[in-house]
Each structure stands twice: as structure tokens, then as C-alpha cells.
């Protein structure tokens, strides 16, 4: 077996003993000339079985047919090294997803002596990445479907239920005016109930699909929402924004929903008197920061009780489904800050199709 370049026994033992990487050498023509324990573990062949064979046995037939092994050596010679990720084949014919680095080795006279090849089995990581990607895509579709359904219900309630209630209220007023005494009062009371129901339905419509979001944009919609809840919950608020342009519809609804969820957490847990919302442009994206002056929590367990935790997961998943990130920082006594960043994209769908 060839001596490793360092010629050092300890170094040889190190390379031989590494289990997580297949580390081996090829002669200038691509025949295997050394083998380590990691190579045996990842690829299945023992040193006796594999030394002397051409390294194309590691490649799937379609890559061999396309001349990929030879091409990789050519690139390594031309550029010094080559890195690749792709399918490779084990001794038993099964495939694994590999990260491969081939480095050309030259002697002092500038002559090619062979190649060092380091291969890592990335199958698990790739599977995990794919699962995560799949999950984000699924969450994205769910969120999209949920928003579409909410909007449809909002329109239906608005165009049908509220119209009918308004007509009923007008008729009750008409009748109340025609009747004398008690009966008129009863109808007047009924009309008050109908008006209350109309107001509640309008509030429902607004929660389901804030009309301002479609008609006037994100900042107006957030202002209307903050006006509304700050009065209800006795909170002071500020809203600062420096967005050069209106975000896409998907980004706007994502930011709006996360703000809604964060504010409802502030209301339920924080005991805050003031909340500051800030929208800015940071590293080709939009950053929304929501800070309160409440009691704060230990971030590690924050909001885990009484269903609050679900809200936190939902905020993060919504941000990630929109290709951004979400974070919450909090300390006991120092308030809580929620941050969400979304990239500014021409159309989120374009990115989703990329591998």
C-alpha cells in the first residue's frame, strides 16, 4: 500500500481509523491504491476486494455511461480539485447520496502521482433537508388554502349575512315607527340587537380578512389593527415603517398574521403597557420587530403553557413557509421582542420550484 504523503505513522493511523469519511487514493489512471475504515463502512468493500479496481465502480451506470468518472479526474487535474454531490453505489448495489472531493496530487517535479478522494455519506442529511423542504412546502400550501378559505367566508358573510341583517334592521326601524308605545319599544330593542349582531359580524369579517390589507396595504392594515386592539386591551403602541414599496400579497398577509399572533401573546401573557412595532428593510428583505415592555419570560420555556406554544410554532412556520425566519427573545423583567424577516421576492412561487 502507498505511504500517505506525510509519511508519518500517526498520520497513517489517523486516516486509516476515520470512520465518517471514506478517504482513499487513486493512481493517475483512476485505480484505487489505498482504502480506509470509513471507506469500508460507507461503501462496503474491504481493502482486499477493492484495491486495484477502477473507481468508476462507485458510480451508477448512467454516470459511467456519461463518462462522469473520467470527466471528474480531468477537472481535478485542470483545477486542482473537484467537489461534487450525487448518487454513488455501494458494494451491495444500493445507492447513497455522497459529497465527494477529489484532489490531484503532484510530486516535486510537477508530475501527477494520483488523486486523494474523500467521500462522505450525506444520505441522512439530504433526507432531513428534503423532509424539511417538503414540510415547508406543505405548510405554505396549508397557509395559502387557509387564507383563501378565510377570504371566501369573509366575502360570504359580508355580502350575504350582513346585507340581510341590515335589511332586517331597517325594516324593524320602519315598523317601530309605525307602532305606538310598548310594541314600538320592543321593536326598537330588537333593532338594537340586530345592529349589535351586524357590528360583530363586521368584526368577524375584519379578523378573517382585514379589508384594509387588500384595499390600502400592509401599513394601513396594521394601523387599523393596532388602533383596534390597543383600545380594547389598554395598550399604547407605536408603528414605525420604512418600507420602500408595498410587500407582495403573500408577504403582507404573513407579516400581518404574525403581528396579530404576537400581539395576542402580548395581551395574554406579557402584562405590558406598551408595544412598539417597527418595519424596516434589512438584507434584501423586510424585518418586522415587535417589542413590549411586559414581564418577559424565560425564552426556553416561554409561552409553553396554556396553548401559547402553538402560537409560537405557527409564527415560525409561517415565516419559514415564506422563506424567512422568526425569532423571539425575552428575559424575565425585560419584555419580549419578536422578530420576523421575509425576503423581498418578485414571486415566492419561483423560489419554491428550485431544488
Amino acid at each position: 500500500m502507498d505511504r500517505p504523503p506525510a509519511g508519518d505513522e500517526r498520520f497513517r493511523l489517523l486516516v486509516q481509523g476515520v470512520l465518517d469519511y471514506a478517504i482513499f487514493m487513486l493512481d493517475p489512471a483512476g485505480h484505487i491504491s489505498s482504502w480506509n475504515a470509513g471507506a469500508k463502512r460507507i461503501k462496503g468493500w474491504s481493502a482486499d476486494e477493492i484495491i486495484g479496481q477502477h473507481f468508476s465502480v462507485f458510480y451508477p451506470p448512467e454516470d459511467v455511461a456519461a463518462g462522469k468518472p473520467a470527466w471528474e479526474l480531468e477537472v481535478a487535474v485542470a483545477e486542482g480539485r473537484l467537489e461534487d454531490e450525487g448518487w454513488r453505489v455501494r458494494k451491495d448495489g444500493t445507492r447513497f447520496w455522497a459529497n465527494v472531493v477529489i484532489t490531484a496530487l503532484w510530486d516535486d517535479n510537477g508530475e501527477l502521482r494520483g488523486f486523494a478522494k474523500v467521500t462522505r455519506d450525506m444520505t441522512e442529511r439530504r433526507n432531513a433537508e428534503q423532509a424539511l423542504l417538503e414540510r415547508r412546502r406543505l405548510v405554505g400550501h396549508l397557509v395559502d388554502a387557509q387564507e383563501r378559505e378565510r377570504r371566501r367566508i369573509a366575502w360570504d358573510v359580508h355580502d350575504e349575512s350582513i346585507q340581510s341583517m341590515v335589511a332586517v334592521g331597517m325594516r324593524l326601524q320602519l315598523l317601530a315607527g309605525r307602532l305606538r308605545g310598548d310594541q314600538g319599544e320592543v321593536l326598537g330593542g330588537l333593532n338594537d340587537s340586530v345592529q349589535t349582531a351586524v357590528r360583530r359580524l363586521r368584526a368577524l369579517v375584519s379578523r378573517l380578512r382585514p379589508p384594509a390589507l387588500d384595499q390600502q396595504g400592509l401599513v394601513e392594515a396594521l394601523t387599523a389593527y393596532l388602533d383596534d386592539v390597543s383600545e380594547q386591551w389598554g395598550l399604547e403602541y407605536s408603528l414605525r415603517h420604512e418600507l420602500p414599496e408595498e410587500p407582495s400579497e403573500e408577504a403582507a398577509i404573513t407579516l400581518y398574521r404574525i403581528c396579530q399572533e404576537a400581539l395576542s401573546n402580548v395581551h395574554r401573557h406579557a402584562g405590558a403597557t406598551r408595544v412598539d412595532v417597527r418595519l424596516s428593510t434589512v438584507s434584501k428583505g423586510m424585518l418586522m420587530r415587535i417589542s413590549d415592555d411586559g414581564v418577559g419570560t424565560d425564552t426556553a420555556t416561554g409561552g409553553a403553557e396554556d396553548g401559547g406554544h402553538f402560537g409560537l410554532i405557527e409564527m415560525r412556520e409561517r415565516a419559514e413557509a415564506a422563506h424567512g425566519w422568526w425569532s423571539m427573545t425575552s428575559e424575565p423583567g425585560a419584555g419580549t421582542t419578536v422578530e420576523v424577516w421575509l425576503p423581498i421576492l418578485p414571486d415566492l412561487r419561483d423560489i419554491e420550484e428550485e431544488p
Partner: protein, 126 residues
């Protein structure tokens, strides 16, 4: 008393159309002369009947309140337009004012407010 204020109603919702007519006709000094279900019909009837006031829904088939208002004012410039909308929407309000709508009321206001607005528009600026 002067002759009654002549009013056109346009709304795509049958219940609203019916009750609007009753509420306005209940007033001795107001009379509903035409009822339309959409913008195009409203424009046609306004041209025919020359009402003093048109009470228009904002969202209707055939172009909606803004389209109806423009069409009516082009053919019957003396008609005052009252938008009777399901939305309290500032942008829509501004848009309707821009095409010449005189008054904007959100559905759900007391009948008395609506009646007063019709009466005021019917009397005209003088």
C-alpha cells in the same frame, strides 16, 4: 309643501331594495320613482326619470357604484348621488367623491340618517 323629492334606488340585494323603497316611501316628502338591480339599469332609469337623488350600492354587477355614478351624472347632471355602501372604506369613499358622489353612508346607519341625507340632497344646494 314643495313636491316630493324623487329618488332612484339601485342595489343588487333584493331585501335591501325592498326595504329601502319602503323606508323612503314612508316619508310624505320623498317618493321612489325607480328601482334598479345593477349599474346599467340604474343609468338607464336615471336618464329616463331624472331623479333628484340616486341611492346607489357601491358593489353591484355591471361596474358598481362608481360606474353607475359616472353614467348617471353624464346623462342627468342635476341628480345628486348618495353612495349606500357595505364598506366603511376610505379609499373607496375618496374614489366615489372623485367621480362626483355627494354623500357616502355605510349600511347599518339608522333609517333617520339615511332619510335626512336624501331629503337634504333632494332640496339641492340652495
Amino acid at each position: 309643501m314643495n313636491s316630493a323629492v324623487r329618488v332612484l334606488i339601485a342595489d343588487d340585494d333584493l331585501m335591501i331594495r325592498q326595504v329601502l323603497r319602503e323606508v323612503l316611501d314612508e316619508e310624505p316628502d320623498i317618493t321612489v320613482v325607480a328601482v334598479a338591480e345593477d349599474a346599467e339599469e340604474a343609468i338607464r332609469l336615471a336618464e329616463r326619470d331624472r331623479p333628484q337623488v340616486a341611492v346607489l350600492d357601491v358593489r353591484m354587477p355591471g361596474g358598481g357604484g362608481a360606474h353607475a355614478a359616472r353614467g348617471i351624472l353624464a346623462r342627468s347632471p342635476e341628480t345628486a348621488i348618495l353612495a349606500f355602501s357595505a364598506y366603511a372604506d376610505r379609499a373607496a369613499m375618496a374614489g366615489l367623491r372623485a367621480v362626483g358622489v355627494s354623500e357616502y353612508l355605510v349600511k347599518g346607519v339608522p333609517n333617520t340618517v339615511l332619510v335626512e341625507a336624501v331629503r337634504r340632497l333632494g332640496r339641492g344646494p340652495g
